[in-house]
Amino acid sequence: MVMEIRRRFARMAGAAIVAVSVWSLAAVSSAQGWIDYVDLEQRFRINLPHEPAVEDSAFLGEYGDELPVRIYTASDGISDYKVSVIDYRSAGVTENRASIAFQALQYRRRGGEVTHDAYAQIDRIEGHQLQITNPDQSRTFVAIHLHRGRLYVVEANAPPGAPPPGLVQQSLVMLDEYGNHVRYELDADGNRARARTVEAD
């Protein structure tokens, strides 16, 4: 009897937590036509001007692994945005750990003047950011972050004279399996633990 009650309470508690999670996501509303796009399967959120077009493809990793990639594209009529989620979960440790540097290298090789090229973190999830002024004076802002075997590559392209596209570059949020915002505490050696305090959104 006690075990049955305990199981029922466990289910109720789980339902309550899921309800809170759904409430949290519902509180994220769109503004000025932009949306906070959520992909629970790929476990991320990002600001985009509208629902993106989604396409599945393959990406050749640095060590020769062919990796699945899901590509999301959108445009606000002035600037273009692209998010690629490369699935490294089947790849080895070195391939995973090298993925950020390898992806950054691809952008450096594209040409243009690299005006920002630095380590970055979002919610203590480590990665790299680049900002490139292209030969036609358009600007490309990039954010690359690896989380739980998925490499998230955010690319925003603004034409000459347009405001810099930092909004999309800076808006990536990782989610857990329940859709909750993931944030870590991080020490200087790279050890991390899930943070207990997260953003109210």
Partner: protein, 142 residues
Amino acid sequence: MLLAMRAQGEPLSNEVVNNMRYTAVSFIVAFVLSLAVPASAHHSHANYAQRDWVELEGTITNVHWMNPHVWIYLEVMGESGKPVVWAMEGGSIAALTEGGWQPDSVQVGDKISARCMPLKDGSSGCLLGYLTTDEHEDKEFD
């Protein structure tokens, strides 16, 4: 089941009561955590020159009142005499609300001034910073 147990006159054991208390506390903690404000910034700011400040004055052309950051687009007169739109990154909705800002505090067409830290790449973007509006004088927008 609990109601059935009570209806049958069966007393609740301490273990069952403790389970109920634990579940209630878990729910409250989960809810409170979902309302908590950020412990620190959502992301690193290496792309901004954090020891430099620019002062801007112009007209708001767009406001993105969204998480994880609220953005304001401000059209200012550039040095060349042509208007330039600046993209200004603010704090999260929770942080701004906590600081006394509301979605209607900054609206398209408003004339405001701002103090912010510019992007290192020289493009027209910056990290807020402080705003002066009709309602507020040099008030933090982060």
